[in-house]
Structures are given as C-alpha cells and as structure tokens.
C-alpha cells in the first residue's frame, strides 16, 4: 500500500511540474509586460500556444535527418526526468535516490547536447551560430554549477537533493560565506542556462543577439511545442532547485499524508511565483550584454563557485 502511494505521489510530482511549467513562463511574461507598462498576454497564453502548436503539422526542412525529429522527444525526456528529480512539494520521494545533483546537471547536459546537434542538423548558418554559442556558454556554466554542487555536498555530506534540503533545514547550517557564494553562482548559472537577459533574450528573433532561439529556428509544430515545453521545464527546474536548496521551508516529508502534501504544494507554488517576480524585476532592470561578455559573467560564476568550495576545503565552518 505504502509503495502504491509512493508511486502515486511521485507520479503527481511529475505531472505537477509538467502542468506548472508553462504557467510559470506565462507568469514571468505577464509580469515583464506589466513592468514595461504593457498589458501583455494572459498568464495562460503559453498553454494556448502549446495546444496550437501541437495540432499543427510539422514543416520539415529537406536536409533534416532522423536526429532532427528524434531530438525534441529526447530533450523533453531528459529535462522532464531531471526536473522530476528535484524535490518540489515534498522531499525523499520514492525515486529521489535515482539521481543526485551531479546526475541532474548531467541530464541537463544531455538535453543541451541534443539541442545543439539539432541546431546543426539542417545545415543553416543560424542553427550553427546558436549551437556554437550555446556550447560556449555551457562550457562555463556547467562547471560553475558543479562547483556549486561541490559546495553543497561538502556542507551536507551528500549530493542527493532530498538529503541536502533536509540538511539545509537543520540548525547547524547558519549563515555561511560559502553558501552565499554558491547562491550567487547558481543564480548566475540559472540566468545563463535559461537564456534570460542579460545573457540571451528569450523574446527576440534578432539574429545577432540570439542563442537559444537561433538553435530552434527550424522547428515547427509538435516539435516546437516540445522544445518550448522543455524550455519552460528548465526554468521551473532551476527555480525549484533554488527553492529546495536555499529556501527549503514548508517542504513536506515523505509519507506525511495528503494534507501536508497539499500544504507543501501551496508553499511550492508561492515560492515559484516569488521567484518569477524576482526574475521579471531583474530582467526589466538590466540590459542585454554582448556575446563575448558572457564568458566574463560566467567566468565570475565559476570563480565564485570554486571559491565557495575552496573555503569549505579549508574550513568546514566557513
């Protein structure tokens, strides 16, 4: 019985994040529009876009290969699994030990690998420029993220996220320099990985500023819907990650019962909403930087992450 409930709760979490992801994207878009004194589309617009795209036919470039058609499903699968492994409303779920934080980072890498390949598949200059820049950004963002993982793991003694979240709730965490550095590094990586301003602009099709949008330029119909959904899932993943590590309050424990789960879910949605507000505020208050500034931005994130880890190697109390 407990096993079936465990499966159910795990399934609920997977469905929840899938359903919430477009809402989060819509929420950030609406907020940004309001901040710019525009009315903006409804919060539900991403759902409508997805349904519209799903029903449309796919326009496939003549030079596209089987990889181009398989990649959206692979990317979606990798990102969904990765996002589902981040604790949201409850920690210690049935399959939470399947992959630790390092594996989640690597799953994001799998998704990125295939997205970059899909960008190169049709053989256009835009796809290439997007792929090439995406891999440059990732080559700095992924190590920065791993350094953040190091810091956490040295503190919590594990890379498994539920245990990390549980550790962060205990009293012996306290205020630490290394955690502040890790938080900063993670936020910077999250901005870069989700193609947000100032690294990339999610709303533009202006050729020279785009990275993510250039890669997916040839996609249409259901493939594009999956890619968009994956991008939303990725944003949700990073916000959940920030929430579960740096604001783990209100998370239910495994087997706590439906009421606790519901409470956890409400708090989780509130955390996401707050994260969305912060992101929208940040994005409207800053200008996009040119591409060869990104390496300095992410290099700083890498150094911050490394510094945090180094401090902990030197002394566990920092």
């Amino acid at each position: 019985m407990a096993l079936i409930v465990g499966y159910l709760v795990q399934g609920c979490q997977m469905l929840l994040i899938l359903l919430l992801a477009p809402l989060l994207t819509g929420w950030v878009r609406t907020l940004k529009a309001r901040l710019l004194r525009r009315r903006g589309p409804s919060v539900l617009q991403p759902y409508r876009d997805l349904f519209k795209l799903l029903r449309k036919e796919v326009v496939l470039a003549d030079s596209a290969s089987w990889l181009f058609r398989v990649a959206p499903y692979l990317i979606f699968a990798a990102l969904w699994v990765a996002a589902a492994l981040v604790p949201t409303f409850a920690g210690g779920l049935l399959f939470s030990w399947t992959a630790d934080l390092i594996a989640i980072v690597a799953l994001l890498g799998t998704a990125r690998f295939f997205l970059a390949l899909a960008g190169l598949d049709v053989g256009t200059s835009f796809g290439g420029i997007g792929s090439s820049r995406e891999m440059m950004i990732a080559s700095l963002a992924e190590p920065a993220m791993l350094m953040m993982v190091f810091t956490l793991s040295l503190l919590a003694g594990t890379t498994e996220l539920s245990s990390v979240a549980r550790f962060m709730l205990t009293a012996d965490v306290g205020l630490r320099v290394s955690l502040a550095l890790a938080l900063l590094a993670l936020v910077m990586v999250a901005i870069a990985e989700n193609a947000r301003i100032p690294v990339d602009n999610p709303a533009t099709h202006l050729e020279l500023t785009m990275v993510h949008e250039a890669m997916v330029l040839e996609y249409s119909g259901r493939h594009l819907a999956l890619i968009e959904l994956s991008a939303s899932l990725k944003l949700l993943l990073y916000l959940s990650l920030l929430g579960c590590i740096f604001a783990p309050w209100g998370m239910a424990t495994a087997g706590a019962g439906p009421a606790a789960y519901l409470g956890g879910a409400v708090i989780y949605v509130a955390k996401l909403a707050f994260g969305g507000v912060l992101l929208a505020l940040f994005e409207t208050s800053i200008a996009k930087m040119r591409v060869f500034r990104v390496d300095q931005f992410l290099g700083a994130a890498l150094m911050l992450g490394l510094l945090g880890a180094l401090l902990l190697f030197v002394s566990r109390s920092l």
Partner: protein
C-alpha cells in the same frame, strides 16, 4: 592452469604475424589473419574474464627463456586479468572491424604481419612478471605499433609522426629501464616477486615514481609528453588507431599502476598523489582544448585520448593521496573510478575511431571541413558514432558519466585529507575536471555535428555509402557495451572489486549487486546514489510516451519544404557553420590565453573585388616552449660536432686513446 594457455595464445598471434608475411599478398590473406586474431582475442577475453569473475588466486609460471640467470616469469593476477579484458575486447572488436575495413587497405603487406604482433606484445606486457620480460614485451609493443604507424610512410606527415613516436618511445622505455633498475637494487632482483618483497628507500621511491610517470606517461600521453600521440595515432589505419588510442594507452596505465601501486607498495608519501593529481588535471584540460582546435577527425579523437588519460590519472592521484593517509575506503573509490574509466575509454574511443574509419572508407576524407550530412547515406554508422560521442561527453545514461560521477564522488570525500596543499589542489582539479567534461561535450557536438549533420560540404561526402556489415557489427558491439556499462554500473564495479582489493591493501567498495534496482552506492554513509537503469527507463518512458500521445491525440502530419533559415535560405553548403566557426567562441574564450589564438581579417578597400581573408593563428605552447628548443639544441650541437665525421684514421685513433686515458684517470680519481 589457464596461464600456459594464456601464454600460448599470444605466441599463436606471433605465428599468425609470421604467416601474414606470406599471406598478405593473397586476396583472402587479410580475412584469414583478422579472423584468427578475432578468435584468439575472444578466447583470451573469455579466459581473463573467467579468472577475474571467479576471483581466482594469482598463478605464476617461469620459463627458461630470456636472461639465463633470470628466466622469463609470468603471472596472472586480478590486475593483469582486468587489463587483459580491456586489451582483448579492443583487439577482438578491431579485428572484427578489420574483416571488412581491411579490404580497403592499399598496402596489406605493411599492416597484416604487424597487427597480430602488436596484439601479442600488449598481451605479453600484461602477463610479464619480471623486469626483463616486461621491457622486452613493452618494446615489442612499441616497435610493432611503430611499424603500423609507418604503414603509409610515403606521406611525409606520417613519416614525421613515426619518427617522433620512435624517439618518444625510446625515451619512455629508457625511463622505465631506469625505474626497474632502481627497484631491483644493487643485487639485481629483477623478478617482480623479489621487488615486491623488498623495500625501496624514500628518495629512490620518489625517483621511481617520477621515472614511471615519464615512462608510462609518455606512452599514455600525459601532458607534456603527449606530443607524439596526436600525430602517430591518426597516421595508422583506423582499426590500429582504435587499438593504439583505446587499448595501448591502457597498457601504459597498467605499467604505471603495476610499478607504483604494486611493486613500489607502501609506504606512499602524500605529495606523490599531489603530483599525479596536478598532472592529471592539466592533461585533462589541455587535452580537450587541443581537441577543440582540431578539424582533422582522427587527430581530434587522439587529443581526446589525452584528455581521458588525464581523467584516469586524476583518479589514480586521488587514490595515492588517500593511501598515503591510510584512508583505504576512499582510495578504493578513487581507484574504482580510475579503472572504470580505463574500461569506458577503451570502449568509446575504439568505437569513435572505428566510426572514423568507416567515414574514411566512405569518403576518403578525415578533414571535417570537407564532410557533412553523412547521417543520410550512413545512418547506422552515424547512430553508433552518436552513442560513442554521447558516452565520451559523459552524458547519462551512458557509461562515460558513471566513471566521471565516481571521480567526482572521490573528490567530494577528499576534504578529510590533512595536507594543506592537497586541500587546495583537489578542488582546483575538480574544477578542471568539470571544465574538461563540459568542453568535451562541446567538442563532440562539433565532431558529430559537422561530420554527420548539415549538408555535404564536398562531392565525396555527398556520394558516400554505408559501410560493410562487419564494421557495423563491431561498432554496435561497442555501442551496446557503452550502454550496458552505463545502465548496469554496479556489476562493473563489482567486477573491479578484486583488482581494487589487490592494489589497496584488500580494501574495496561494498558489493553493489545487492542494492535495490542495482543502484550505485559507492560510500554507504554518504548516501550519494546514482541509478543509470532507472534514469534510462524514465527517459525512455517519458520520451516514447510523449511521442505516442502526441502522434495519437494531436498531429502526426509532416510537410517537407526547403529550410526556413529566417527567410534567407542559401543553397550553397559553404554557408553552413564549419568546424572552425563552431569552435570560434571557445577559441576566443579559452584559446586566446592557452594558445595565444589571434584572428586576423584583411578586408580589401571598397570597390576592390578581391576576397576578404580571415586567418587564425594558433601556437602550441608545449611544442614551442618545450620541444622546439630541445630539438634546436640537439641540431646545433650535432652540426657543431659534424666535422668529427670526416677525420683521418690517425685522428680517430688518437681520439680513442684520449678517451681511454680520460676514463682511466676518472676511475683512479673516483677511487
């Protein structure tokens, strides 16, 4: 019992090599030689696998060969058995591939006799149990692979690669010779049992470590001794490149492990680990950066071997550091990570080289800038290469990720190390490892994307054909093993346990196959776990589920049309991104520091119809700062003494007399 058979089979390979001299010119000669090599490798593989999995005790054998007062000692233990598996798996797959690929060989008489000899040499290195046999087998392996590198020596680049390889191989063997000399001591106990029983003074032990790093490191491709590797590995025929890169570098790793972990034994000094760790980190980082700058597919793969050797040495360095501090449980994790990566790298690097061989047969081209779109004519080769590329980029759920994950876990338990230098070094090496993993992914997006995706950039690429069945079978065997080792890592770790126990004072990881769902649990109280099987299952479920639901409920229609490209599609394939342009952002970010990369654009004035020129300038720091000065000094010195070649007989005689007097005087003064 199996040791005589294990020894007999390499001898059979040698005989096949001799037979191949006669058979090479016959049309079916290649088939016979590769067929027998395949069979022998499979038998050797089965014997070694049986020894390792049954956990048998080491067996020894002494033959009255070699030096009369020493004899030839052979021994089969868990370490040798594991490396025998790596060697013969690679050998079997390369032979299978060559059953098809070898048909295209222009000069079979230059390849066939040396291929079985090369395999025999590698097997004998692993079985040798005294310094003399070890070095003879080592040299045999070096020379037969040199002959294979020189198979197409008419190309001046290949001849140069062969020369450099020969110089570096001699240098490496010299270092090993000196290391064994120090280990054997003044009494000359050259068999490994005597060396193991004896002790070496700390100063000599450190010297042995350095010599082992030079000797085995130069064969494995440790920076800065790697310079020959990216030239020599690509010069050989592709199935031999796969063996050299995927397997021979592992024999070098075996040499290092045998000398440092087994023969040298305890006590280990802590800074040894630091040295190996730092070298490993630098090698990993520089290797992948070099690889990113290459547009020659085989050379790119060869530089990637350098990177992976770095990753293996990071694991070995951590293990040494832990052993020096008596932290054997942690050392077991680091050693398992290193050995797991040895196996993984032999799988995916062989696979990638074989895939390149298939591309080479189909197009005659190794330059990525002239390839492209090969996924359409060669879908199966592309799939196999893609699996290899994803595995080497450490993407879950494939095998490359597991060994990197284990290495990361080993790094994460290292703050317990008491030495301050190590406390600073380990996170820095961790950052280098993370950087090189991310850059490897970028590199293989480039390698696969430019070669197989997009549109063909040359007529040769446009008219390519899928490769033969043997080659495809060989590639898919390796691809399947990459996936299996990735989703069932616990079984591999259990298989490695006897090896780790042998090298680590019998401390090993806990058995993994009892864990629920075959989860990988390296350290019990740390609770960091990874389950490749479930990750794979979840991904398959969500991916196929999404595809099924969408095709069923939404739309499954497809319309074909020209590419959109933001409204400006261009028919000329030269408008695609090239390998050079793909690497440009990374070249600018990392290369401007490491390689002093400079880009120059010369634009003609307006109205002038000459084309604009774009030139990239790269400097190889290791070659220009390290090797070129030495080579220049040697040339200067030898040209200065050149006149000694043209003396009269009287002068030569007086020189001999003078030398004799000086030596005798020296002896008198020495006493």
């Amino acid at each position: 019992m199996s040791l005589p058979l294990l020894l007999g089979l390499p001898m059979l390979l040698l005989a096949v090599g001799a037979y191949a001299i006669a058979a090479a010119r016959r049309p079916d000669g290649g088939r016979q030689v590769y067929g027998i090599a395949l069979f022998v490798c499979i038998v050797l593989l089965a014997l070694a696998l049986g020894h390792l999995l049954a956990g048998r005790a080491p067996t020894t054998l002494t033959l009255p060969l070699g030096l009369p007062w020493l004899g030839a000692h052979f021994r089969l233990d868990a370490l040798a058995a594991f490396f025998l598996i790596v060697v013969n798996l690679g050998g079997a797959v390369a032979s299978l591939f060559a059953l098809g690929y070898g048909q295209h060989e222009r000069a079979p008489e230059r390849v066939l006799p040396f291929f079985p000899a090369f395999l025999a040499g590698m097997n004998l290195v692993l079985l040798a149990d005294d310094a003399f046999t070890f070095l003879v087998a080592w040299e045999f392996m070096s020379l037969s692979s040199w002959a294979l590198v020189m198979a197409h020596h008419q190309d001046p680049a290949n001849a140069r690669a062969g020369y450099l390889y020969l110089v570096m191989a001699c240098f490496g063997t010299l270092a090993l010779l000196l290391a064994f000399g120090l280990l054997a001591g003044p009494d000359g106990g050259y068999d490994f049992a005597t060396i193991r029983a004896g002790t070496t003074s700390p100063g000599f032990a450190a010297l042995v470590l350095m010599l082992a790093l030079l000797g085995a490191g130069s064969k494995a491709g440790l920076v800065p001794l790697h310079v020959w590797l990216p030239l020599a590995h690509p010069a050989a025929p592709s199935h031999v490149s796969a063996l050299m890169s995927g397997v021979m570098t592992k024999v070098a790793i075996y040499g290092f492990i045998r000398i440092v972990f087994d023969l040298l034994g305890e006590p280990v000094v802590w800074w040894w680990g630091g040295v190996v760790l730092a070298l490993g980190g630098i090698t990993a980082m520089l290797g992948v950066l070099y690889a990113l700058m290459q547009h020659d597919l085989k050379r790119l793969l060869a530089y990637h071997t350098v990177e992976n050797i770095g990753i293996i040495f990071i694991g070995l360095g951590l293990a040494l550091a832990f052993q020096a501090n008596q932290m054997y449980a942690s050392a077991a994790l680091a050693l398992t990570a290193a050995l797991f990566h040895v196996l993984n790298h032999s799988l995916f690097k062989s696979l990638l080289f074989l895939g390149t061989g298939a591309v080479l047969t189909a197009t005659g081209e190794r330059d990525m800038e002239k390839l492209g779109g090969l996924i359409h004519p060669m879908p199966w080769t592309a799939l196999a290469f893609l699996i290899g590329a994803a595995a080497i980029s450490a993407l879950p759920p494939l095998n490359g990720f597991v060994s990197e994950w284990l290495t990361f876990q080993a790094i994460l338990i290292s703050p317990e190390l008491p030495q301050w230098l190590l406390k600073f070094l380990v996170p820095a090496v961790g950052a280098l490892l993370a950087l090189s993993a991310a850059l490897a992914a970028a590199c293989f997006v480039k390698a696969f994307g430019i070669t197989f995706l997009g549109r063909p950039r040359s007529p040769a690429a446009a008219t390519a054909r899928e490769t033969d069945r043997y080659s495809l079978t060989a590639m898919f065997v390796l691809a399947g093993l990459c996936l299996l080792a990735g989703i069932l890592p616990g079984l591999v770790v259990d298989g490695l346990a006897p090896v780790v126990g042998l090298l680590n004072g019998s401390a090993r990881l806990i058995p993994q196959h009892h864990q629920p769902w075959l989860t990988l649990v390296p350290v019990v109280d740390v609770k960091s776990t990874y389950n490749g099987l479930l990750v794979m299952l979840f991904m398959a479920l969500s991916g196929f589920g999404a595809a099924w639901l969408i095709h069923r409920l939404a739309s499954d229609k497809v319309r074909h049309s020209p590419a959109w490209d933001c409204g400006f599609p261009e028919a000329n394939p030269a408008f695609q991104y090239t390998a050079g342009s793909f690497a440009q952002p990374i070249r600018r970010v990392f290369g401007s520091i490491v390689f002093q990369a400079r880009e120059r654009v010369t634009m003609p004035p307006p109205g002038d119809s000459r084309p604009a020129r774009f030139k990239v300038e790269l400097h190889d720091p290791v070659w220009e700062r390290g090797y070129a000065p030495i080579a220049d000094a040697v040339v200067a010195l030898s040209s200065r003494f050149n006149y000694l070649q043209y003396l009269t007989i009287r002068r030569y005689l007086s020189l001999v007399f003078g030398a004799l007097v000086v030596l005798l005087l020296g002896m008198v003064l020495w006493r």
